[in-house]
């Protein structure tokens, strides 16, 4: 089993130790992460510089490694030849990756053409639906889905992949053993069971604002392609897309209604030349060349005309009752029709008893 080298562990310890200091420089965080230990302390240590130097000198890397294994984290550092090759394109690749879910599995997943699916937390149900079905379809096509486990689009992409029995990788802003946001505990557990959660921060580090753009750079670097599903005009997802562009990786965006604030981000990316993502096939074409790999066929059964009409009504955004009336259903048959659409995988019954269309 590979383990992290002393130098990388010591630097990572300092990163966690100075997490609060780094927040002052979060605007230039990519550059800050390129600094070595002495430079970091000199640049951001301030009055505590002397203390930090002394503390750094007394750090025992072996103890740090033990602390990681105590909470179930496995490590790989950038000096290790097994380190994911795409991450090496970064000016400052994470020194140590802390992994939940198994190092070998993570390394294997990281070479399986990962695709990042990212987007805003305040997503529409259309957005989460798209993210979920993209995650599922790409997972089925053998592509690893990478995202950040945040509310909204990120989680939907993970859930889609997991529901399709495909492993997926979450890059967390804080330590990998702690779900962030905490409400995604269940998702974190599922990820740990079949996929992986990774982070460049040592366990016990509190989450700081600079960690989000830092995490986004890791997502962009880990993925062969980054897709933005929904994002506002000044969103972290656009930061991720920006990192991907800097690394000369393809960026895709899902077009949205021009009147919706969540569509502003992807539409702006499209205007700037991003790949149009209308479905999983567009992603596979961009990754492997047109027609090289085909998304699994829609294995959903053919719909009768009546059911297709009902589905179209739901897709137009009509409420359940209205869609049934428009498609000419009596209530009993209507409920049964909705249930058969659901069993066939075209719609999903949501919390409030409404139906969301699965693209």
């Amino acid at each position: 089993m590979s383990a992290a080298c002393d130098a990388c562990v010591r630097w990572t310890w300092l990163l966690g130790r100075m997490a609060g200091h780094l927040d002052h420089a979060r605007a230039r965080i990519a550059a800050v992460l390129e600094l070595d230990e002495d430079e970091l302390i000199a640049a951001l240590g301030g009055e505590r510089g002397g203390d930090l130097l002394r503390e750094r000198d007394s750090v025992d890397p072996e103890r740090q490694r033990d602390r990681c294994s105590e909470v179930g984290l496995q490590l790989v550092c950038r000096c290790d030849p097994a380190y994911p090759v795409r991450l090496r394109d970064l000016p400052a690749p994470p020194r140590v990756l802390h992994i939940v879910g198994g190092l070998d599995r993570f390394l294997e997943l990281a070479v399986r053409d990962p695709v990042a699916i990212v987007g805003s937390r305040a997503a529409s149900s259309y957005g989460t639906g798209v993210a979920r079905s993209l995650g599922a379809a790409l997972g089925r096509a053998g592509v690893t889905v990478v995202s950040g486990m945040a509310h909204g689009i990120d989680s939907a992409a993970h859930v889609g992949a997991l529901d399709a029995q495909a492993p997926t990788i979450a890059v967390l802003p804080g330590p990998a053993d702690r779900p962030y946001p905490a409400s995604r505990r269940g998702l974190h557990r599922r990820l740990a069971a079949t996929g992986a959660a990774v982070s460049e921060l040592p366990p016990g580090t509190p989450v700081r604002r600079w960690m989000f753009p830092a995490r986004n750079r890791v997502i962009a670097a880990l993925a062969a392609m980054t897709i933005v599903v929904e994002a506002g005009e000044r969103s972290g997802s656009l930061v991720t897309a920006g990192f991907a562009q800097q690394l000369a990786r393809p960026v895709g965006a899902v077009p949205g209604q021009i009147t919706r604030p969540q569509a502003a981000g992807p539409n702006a990316l499209l205007a700037a030349g991003a790949t149009v993502v209308r479905g999983p096939q567009d992603v596979l074409d961009a990754l492997f060349g047109v027609g090289v790999r085909a998304a699994a066929d829609d294995d959903r059964p053919e719909l009768t005309d009546e059911l297709a009409l009902l589905l179209a009504g739901l897709a137009d955004g009509h409420g359940t009752s209205t869609a049934l009336v428009r498609a000419g259903y009596e209530p009993e048959e209507g409920l049964a029709a909705l249930a058969s659409l659901e069993l066939a995988g075209y719609v999903r019954r949501e919390g409030g008893g409404r139906y969301a269309v699965i693209p």
């Binding site: 409400s183 009147t259 359940t320 209530p331 909705l338 019954r349 949501e350 919390g351 409404r354």
Partner: protein
């Protein structure tokens, strides 16, 4: 001289016999009441004194001791006045003592000697009958209510003088002007399903809920008619039997909400969301029935479910589970019946417009918080969930879909089928079936079985949700007259199922 007469204390909604004994002996004039009496009972000394004088009787100027037996039972309130006064009259020889033996007396006195209206006469009448007494004297306003108990000669009187005359046999007991209705009266002006336009799905859900006794959650934006729909649920439930009507009447009589004859329509209670736990399930230093008990045999409607305090909703667990709630005060436990149907309404998100294009501006965290407030044991008891949307223009201008009368007939037929099938089990309707009963009594035909398996395997159902869907499917099959649950019945039930695990919905 010693005189005795029976009366009754009301303990929760049950009668407890209390024997009033009055002894008059030589000594300085005094009037003492013993036997764990509260302030209101001890104050009755002065009321009785004045009432007796003002009724043209004599108040004995000797030493009077009154005892309320059994001594361990705490006696509360003014309902013992009439019994004490009559016992004083008998002990002082103004009315014959032997005549009192067959009587129970209940009521509060005024200083002028009138018998005041006192709530709970029906409970007292039941107690009197159970104690083997044949005659009951109650305030006139309560006579019709007390006369609902068969085999009891009820005299409704308005003064102490009249009560004494009844005992003396000087004149026959005054009968209340209108004899109590032999059969249940037709409920007056209940809201009817025929007033509703559109809402085909919620109306179907209401009928299924009524037919199987399933609790129902209505979810939808503000102003779409959730409350209006809920108010119509009692109108499609089967009519109450006489026994049920008497249960309801005694509860409402004790609570002082009802005074005249038998209650004919099922209760509908809609407490405001600021209600306290003891307001909802009963309680207080002198335990009173809560809204859950007032809704017994009827409907409890919780509007704005997410606004109720968590502790209030949690208090509903036992009533929902057991059909009764036990309230322990000091050394005794009171049991209030709480067999009601629960119907709740909620907005899908804090602003209420989730799912309607662009109208909702709630953040996901807010929606999660909103939903978390709903989750838990209460949702677990809700078999049905229906989305109440805004009716379309065309629906608003079209005719009614069904009337309460025809819906009630369908419901009654479905209930009849359930009764036959569930005979010999603990359940009286499909909504009460436990897991074992579901396994034994819910038979699916082949395609339905396949659909159920499919729904389970695609993750649309949890293990618990599967159980709920089966109960609802059985009710739908009962409404349709199917011997076994058909494919269509099962799919319909899936279309009304409640989503238990919202976490996985990302």
């Amino acid at each position: 001289m010693l005189a005795r007469i029976a009366t009754f204390a009301i303990d929760g909604v049950d009668p407890r016999q209390v024997l009033v004994e009055v002894h008059i002996r030589a000594g300085l004039p005094a009037f003492a009441i013993v036997g764990l009496a509260d302030t209101a009972v001890r104050e009755s000394r002065d009321r009785i004194h004045s009432a007796i004088l003002n009724s043209k009787f004599e108040f004995p100027s000797r030493r009077i001791t009154a005892n309320l037996a059994p001594a361990f039972l705490r006696k509360v309130g003014p309902g013992f006045d009439a019994a004490l006064a009559l016992a004083v009259l008998a002990a002082s020889g103004q009315i014959p003592r032997d005549a009192l033996a067959a009587y129970a007396v209940f009521g509060e006195l005024s200083l002028g000697g009138e018998l005041r209206d006192s709530p709970g006469a029906l409970v007292v009448a039941e107690g009197a009958r159970r104690a083997g007494l044949t005659k009951l004297i109650v305030p006139r306003e309560r006579a019709r209510e007390a006369a609902l108990v068969e085999g009891l000669e009820v005299a409704g009187v308005s003064t102490l003088r009249a009560a004494a005359e009844v005992v003396l046999g000087a004149r026959p007991p005054e009968l209340p002007e209108a004899p109590p209705p032999a059969e249940l009266r037709e409920p007056v002006a209940e809201p009817d399903l025929a007033d509703v336009r559109g809402h085909a799905l919620p109306m179907l859900a209401l009928q299924i809920a009524a037919a199987g006794g399933h609790n129902l959650l209505l979810e939808g934006p503000p102003g779409t008619g959730k409350t209006m729909l809920a108010r119509r649920l009692p109108s499609i439930l089967p009519r109450m039997t006489r026994a049920e009507a008497i249960e309801v009447t005694r509860i409402h009589s004790v609570a002082g909400l009802h005074a005249d004859g038998l209650i004919g329509s099922r209760p509908f209670r809609a407490p405001h969301h600021t209600i306290s736990p003891s307001g909802l399930v009963g309680g207080g230093a002198l335990p009173r029935p809560g809204e859950a008990t007032l809704a017994h045999r009827g409907v409890l409607f919780l509007d704005e479910l997410s606004e109720f305090q968590r502790s209030t909703l949690d208090a509903l667990r036992q009533p929902l589970e057991d059909g009764s709630v036990a309230i322990v005060r000091g050394q005794r436990a009171l049991v209030f019946p709480t067999k009601f149907m629960l119907i709740a309404a909620t907005n899908p998100c804090p602003c209420g417009f989730a799912g309607i294009e662009d109208r909702c501006n709630c953040r996901e965290a807010d929606i999660r918080r909103h939903r978390r407030k709903l989750s838990g044991p209460l949702l677990d008891r809700m078999d049905l969930l229906v989305d109440v949307g805004r009716p379309t223009e065309r629906e608003l201008t079209s005719g009614p879909i069904t009337s309460s009368d025809s819906a009630r007939r369908r419901v009654a037929q479905a209930r009849e089928r359930q009764r036959a099938r569930l005979d010999g089990t603990t359940a009286s309707c499909n909504g009460e079936m436990d897991a074992r009963t579901v396994r034994r009594h819910v038979a699916l035909d082949e395609p339905a079985e396949q659909a159920l398996t499919q729904a389970y395997s695609v993750g649309a159902l949890s293990a618990r949700g599967r159980h709920r869907v089966l109960r609802v499917a059985r009710t739908i099959a009962d409404l349709e007259g199917h011997e076994r649950v058909s494919h269509q019945d099962l799919l319909t039930a899936l279309g009304l199922r409640q989503q238990p695990d919202l976490a996985s919905a990302a």
